[in-house]
Homo-oligomer: 223 residues x 4
């Protein structure tokens, strides 16, 4: 009987039911999004779960329907922050073409588009601040994101060196030197931005890239 009844009014029922269901499915990421913002703003320990819940538009107790504890929420925040990073890395890896320098340039700007310029850029600050209190999470992030990103850059640098496009220098440290300004950019965004000059990220990246490729020295041929 019930089967019959719903059969004649399928859409109406479906429509009223969906919001509830969609809500439920969306909750976890609504909550981790709110948590990410607050954790980055105030730090993990200082953030009250009640505020996280409020920012996500639910009550304190609701949080516990989806996460076992504050720590579990933290882990979920990081995990959820990792996926897009990996996806972005994959994409950029795939779209390579042209010289090593050009590929490098693409990577820097692509990273900015998909990570550095979004709210996800808070994750690194979070990891830096909390890594000592959550070693497993830090390890996880290290293995999944940092090592992977470094591998990407290593490939590019080694190719550039092999092709004679780049000088033969210590690749690992070079990777550090490439990454550092990117991290500075996001750390700045979430830490000291409010107390100083505003830098334009795009031109910052441009100069970083220029400096990286050409160095400070004026070469013999003029510029």
């Amino acid at each position: 009987m019930n089967t019959l009844a719903t059969h004649s009014v399928p859409l109406a029922n479906a429509e009223t039911r969906v919001p509830r269901r969609r809500r439920k499915d969306a909750r976890p990421s609504e909550l981790t999004a709110a948590a990410l913002e607050l954790f980055v703003e105030r730090g993990f320990a200082t953030t009250r779960l009640e505020d996280v819940a409020a920012r996500a538009g639910v009550s304190k107790g609701t949080l516990y329907l989806y996460f076992d504890s504050k720590e579990a929420l933290f882990k979920a925040v990081i995990e959820e922050g990792i996926v897009p990073t990996l996806v972005a890395a994959e994409q950029q890896l795939a779209e390579h073409s042209g010289s090593a320098a050009e590929l490098l340039r693409k990577l820097l700007f692509g990273w900015w588009q998909q990570i550095g310029g979004t709210r996800l850029a808070g994750v690194p600050k979070l990891i830096i601040s909390e890594s000592r209190n959550f070693p497993e999470v830090a390890q996880y992030y290290h293995d999944k994101v940092i090592l992977r990103g470094r591998a990407l850059l290593r490939t590019v640098l080694q190719r550039g060196i092999a092709d004679g496009e780049f000088r033969a220098l210590d690749v690992e440290t070079a990777i550090d030197v490439i990454i550092a300004p990117l991290l500075m950019l996001v750390i700045w965004r979430f830490s000291l931005c409010f107390c100083g000059q505003e830098t334009d990220p795009e031109s910052y990246l441009e100069t970083h890239f220029d400096l990286l490729v050409h160095g400070l020295h004026r070469s013999q041929d003029g510029q």
Copy 2:
């Protein structure tokens, strides 16, 4: 004076008193030193004042003889961390000689000797983590340390450009790019160091400097 007064008292008493006196003067910096370590390790909110006191070898109550509150202790930690930085900057500024590149090299290594390689290097991590919760402190650090350090680099860069030694590039961003790997170095030391490869700071700095001056590109003269 006190030493004289107690001079008639049995040795045992004298012995217990003198160290206490000497202790008394040293207390504040013993406490801030302990606090710096723990704040950097665990974060401000997660650090218990009892642990700070214990690490400094005193009782909880004693802390309040020297600092009005946990926040006051935090400010003292930062302030005390700033002085050596400024002193170091002064020294390096004074000892300039030779080319701009050489001066730059001296600055990087001097910073490592006096700041980056010491426990003081935890201060930046602390500032990054807590700046949003202590804006005045962050502002203070920004004005006293960051701006001053940047001014130093700006002078060097501008001199190099004026002398025709360096290319004419955007100085402010170049400063960022120079500083970033230094900060990465210390951030790494206090955050993710435990979960990955150990880099040798000296050679790291060397490569950083090399890359900074010459860039990635192989120049025409075949270097």
Copy 3:
């Protein structure tokens, strides 16, 4: 009736419906049965309604269709636990025959058959544990079960004394002394049973009865 009506519907539907209908009537006692077990196991306060519901195979919300609150459920548990006790008392009262001692023996073993050996024996433990938190319930139990049981025993004892079969002793205390080992038996079953020796209830009752009638002393006739 319902069975007939659904008779034209496919079997699958009929099968799901009929049990549901039968279920519906049985629900309350299924729920109180589950609740009794859990309340006895864990105590009232420590038992979660969700667990009660789960043990009864329904959802949390369903419980509230049958009971207004956790307290109401508790009262229902006790009330439902009382009825069989009363019925048992009636039966035993009716089946009297023979000497007072024999009647007493019948009562003890009958009680074990119908109460002490069943899950209903948890009720006394529950009453003991929770009486201070639910005075009305305790009073109710006291009046309906305890007083009634005592009245039963009083009748038997008084008859025995009147007939010259028993000594003339303080009847009320004698009642206590008769009941105590029975309660110990059930309390043990639901409390400390797991940490000690297992006693056989039947032989326990036998010895209790024997001791009750004859006492410790060896009588002159050499028994």
Copy 4:
């Protein structure tokens, strides 16, 4: 100097200092005493630590200076409740003389004087109510108190039987039967006392003892 000063006013100083010290030493048992009362009254789960603290005249936080958790407090309550029981058992064991029946009588009344009639009598109720939630504690109580008490009675009964004073009956069950009314007495005191008749413990014990020794049956010699 300080040593000298205190030397001339020894008692005054001692007297003002002592209260604080005595306070601190007395705190744990003040707290367990308060906790025992409330746990027995309301049950473990329903008792708020704030109320325990309040009854002991201190604040919530003070409790945690002496006990790690609510559970630790519970364990301390039981442990502290066990010691006097053991001590009492020792004493009664030592003061034996006369017939087995007389010894038995002494034990019953001694127990009432030192345990059953004091606040310690709440411990058994607590154990009964919470044993399932704290199996280790229950086991501990079982081993230290129950087994020990039974051993005491076993000795007496076996001696009585050996001497021909008592009939040869199942000793273990006899022990149960002796203990049961005692436990009923204390359980009653802490559970249902408020809803019924008040029994005089002394005469209750008297009848219990009388019944135990002589049984219900009127013996031939007309007693």
